[in-house]
């Protein structure tokens, strides 16, 4: 429903939900996309096997506030490395969050690559929504103790 009281300058948060790499399990990506849309955001979904250059280009062209990656195949490190390099080369500073099957031991390496948050299979949707909203406002998303215990960091 349109909020008639929204001030004219209010812009919906725009998110690119991307499914990079070769893995075809898109249940998580689609559930997250639906949750962000229900939270009032504009969601662009890349579909399966989006390549890294195309994700970066789409993110810039669509002027999104946040990029969400879904990766279950174990290729997260290689993909994040290439994506952050690509974004940097384009001069774009768009926060990247990632969800999927990511071993906890890889979290520090992903953070070092500039990934803002990593979500596991049981992260609550509202936490993902809150994180995206915060990053879109230009705030750092802080992990509290509860969040960590529920599979996010």
């Amino acid at each position: 429903m349109v909020n008639v009281f929204s001030p004219p300058t209010a812009r919906k948060v725009r998110v690119l939900v991307a499914k990079p790499g070769l893995d075809g399990h898109d249940r998580g990506a689609k559930v997250i996309a639906a949750a962000l849309r229900d939270a009032g955001m504009e969601v662009i979904y890349t579909g399966l096997r989006a390549n890294v250059a195309a994700i970066a280009a789409a993110a810039v062209q669509e002027d999104v506030d946040v990029i969400g990656l879904s990766i279950l195949s174990g290729a997260h490190e290689s993909i994040c490395q290439r994506l952050t390099a690509e974004l940097k080369a384009m001069g774009a500073e768009i926060p990247v969050v990632i969800g999927g099957v990511i071993p906890t031991s890889d979290f520090p390496r992903l953070k070092a690559l500039g990934v803002k948050a990593v979500f596991g299979p049981e992260s609550p949707l509202e936490q993902v929504v809150a994180c995206v909203a915060a990053l879109a406002r230009g705030e750092e998303w802080s992990k509290d103790a509860k969040a960590q215990q529920q599979g996010a960091a």
């Binding site: 790499g21 070769l22 893995d23 075809g24 399990h25 898109d26 249940r27 990506a29 689609k30 559930v31 996309a33 639906a34 949750a35 969601v43 662009i44 979904y45 890349t46 579909g47 399966l48 096997r49 390549n51 195949s73 174990g74 290729a75 490190e77 290689s78 993909i79 290439r82 099957v101 071993p103 906890t104 031991s105 596991g120 299979p121 049981e122 609550p124 949707l125 509202e126 215990q149 529920q150 599979g151």
Partner: protein, 529 residues
């Protein structure tokens, strides 16, 4: 019957939405099924079920390099596993060689990397292919991997007619849920049927397709899972018949693969109802007369989305309940997923423990001693009938869309499944759907698991290997074989003979797939969700 007043709590329902009554009695049992081994096989496909032949314990394995997978296979066979199940990495599944740029970061990750016949020879070195059966979870490149397996057997001195196993080769569910497609829908299905036809003619002990239910893991309810899977079966049968194939010959060669979660009784009812519906379809709609052509033979996985990352050892309890449901349902082959599935590929410990679940069920409980042990339970019999009705309802919706292939082309199945996945997630987060350790009885602090470390050298090693291979073989022979594949793809000749020739010439998975891509192009996935 009076409707419950709105103040009363909602009646509990199965995951397919069937209301569960507080108690069942004789009045709830509407039909009595014939004994196991008799049409419509509600109670099982064999008269004595597991007394005649126990289910096959088939653990999905494979990672890293062909050498590492060969070692894991030998380990599992040494632990009493009875069949092999080859997990392939995504580049192999999608027709990319290890040295291709698109394969970056994915080589050897979710399965073993196979680029050419040479790798297949290594995977099965010292494993007698005349004695073990091997299932391969391979779809878009199934024909290539099957041709390689056959070639390895021949090199071992085993006649093609003696090799046994299964290639998944179900492209419908790739478009519907699993996503490992390559070519557009119509040529993909043509290739799948080429494989079925070739196998029926030449490899009498090999299942050329395992019509699989990944819709479930993507979000479908159990009734939808069975309905979409059987509807896919209908699509394949119609395409085989359209080629003039004999239903009595190919019917017995179709096999199925399902997901089993912890909703124990509904799972048992699902399998009983599924067998009943498939037998009726084959007999009444397609005119199959032999019992073998009417039977639904099925393998299954216990695990998948039902396993949690929170408190991972709880997953052993889950897969035990699931495997017990399968044993009570009379399926032919079982894969129990490891407790660390939500983290990484399994370690030796987690893989062995998963296998032990099945061995304990088979040897320490009575479940294998009598066929269809839950038959006659008022609840199970009533639920079987209700599941049958629920499955048929969804199947008629698919028919109304024009069958599975058309329903996929319209993105209809995909959107139904996504909706269910979202509903499920909402139900979990509201607490309506309890999951122990996740939204109820949550413990503080996670225990650290010892995880299988992915081999980081696999990619470089494999990329170098495939480059060396290309330099060592006869390029002229490869080029000629690839030309034959392109020619067959443009026409209607069966693609398996030229694929076999290319494999024997050590053409790679990437080269053969590219030859087909040149003719057919690539599928464009939907972006609506």
């Amino acid at each position: 019957m009076s409707r419950p007043r709105s103040k009363e709590p909602q009646a509990p329902k199965t995951r397919s939405g069937i209301e569960i009554r507080p108690v069942y009695g004789p009045q709830d049992v509407k039909q009595h099924s014939p004994p196991p081994g008799e049409y419509p096989f509600t109670r099982g496909i064999h008269p004595t079920m597991y007394r005649g032949k126990l289910w096959t314990m088939r653990q999905y394995a494979g990672f890293g390099t062909p050498e590492e997978t060969n070692q894991r296979f030998k380990y599992l066979l040494g632990q009493g596993q009875t069949g092999l199940s080859l997990a392939l990495d995504l580049p192999t599944q999608l027709g990319l060689d290890a040295d291709s740029e698109e394969a970056g970061g994915e080589v050897g990750k979710v399965g073993v990397s196979i680029c050419s016949l040479k790798d297949m020879e290594t995977v099965f070195a010292g494993i007698p292919l005349g004695e073990v059966s091997t299932s391969m979870t391979i779809n878009a490149t199934a024909g290539i991997l099957l041709a390689m397996y056959e070639a390895v057997a021949v090199k071992q001195g085993v006649a093609p007619a003696r090799i046994s196993g299964t290639v998944q080769n179900d492209l419908i569910k790739e478009f519907g849920s699993r996503g490992a497609w390559l070519y557009p829908i119509q040529p993909s299905l043509r290739l799948a049927v080429d494989i079925i036809q070739d196998c029926v003619d030449r490899l009498p002990r090999f299942n050329p397709i395992s019509i699989a239910s990944h819709y479930r893991d993507a979000g479908a309810t159990p009734a939808e899972e069975m309905a979409y899977t059987l509807a896919a079966g209908v699509e394949y049968v119609e395409r085989c018949l359209a080629r003039g194939m004999d239903v009595e010959k190919f019917g017995p060669r179709l096999s199925f693969f399902f997901y089993t979660y912890t909703n124990f009784f509904e799972e048992v009812a699902k399998y009983r109802a599924g067998r009943r519906i498939w037998a009726r379809l084959m007999k009444e709609r397609f005119g199959a007369k032999s019992p073998q052509a009417q039977m639904l033979r099925a393998a299954c996985v216990c695990g998948g989305h039902s396993l949690t990352r929170a408190e991972p050892l709880n997953n052993i309890a889950r897969s035990t309940i699931e495997a017990f449901a399968v044993a009570c349902s009379g399926l032919q082959s079982v894969f129990t997923a490891a407790y660390d599935e939500a983290f990484a590929i399994p370690t030796e410990l987690s893989a062995r423990t998963a296998l032990r679940v099945q061995q304990i069920l088979a040897l320490e409980t009575e479940v294998a001693q009598t066929a269809d042990p839950l038959a006659g339970s008022y609840f199970v019999e009533a639920l079987t009938d209700e599941m049958e009705a629920a499955i048929l309802k969804v199947m008629s919706e698919v028919e109304a869309q024009g069958g599975m292939a058309q329903a996929l082309e319209k993105n209809w199945v995909q959107q139904q499944i996504s909706r269910r996945a979202y509903e499920w997630q909402r139900a979990v987060e509201s607490g309506e759907q309890p999951i122990v350790g996740v939204n109820v009885h949550v413990s503080e602090g996670e225990q650290e698991l010892q995880l299988q470390q992915p081999s980081r050298e696999a990619e470089e090693q494999k990329a170098a290997g495939v480059k060396a291979l290309r330099a060592s073989r006869s390029q002229a022979a490869v080029d000629q074989a690839l030309g034959e594949i392109r020619r067959a793809a443009q026409g209607t000749d069966n693609l398996m003979p030229p694929i076999r020739a290319a494999v024997m010439a050590y053409a790679t998975v990437g080269e053969i797939s590219t030859a087909l891509k040149d003719v057919w192009g690539l599928y464009q996935p939907p972006t609506r969700f």
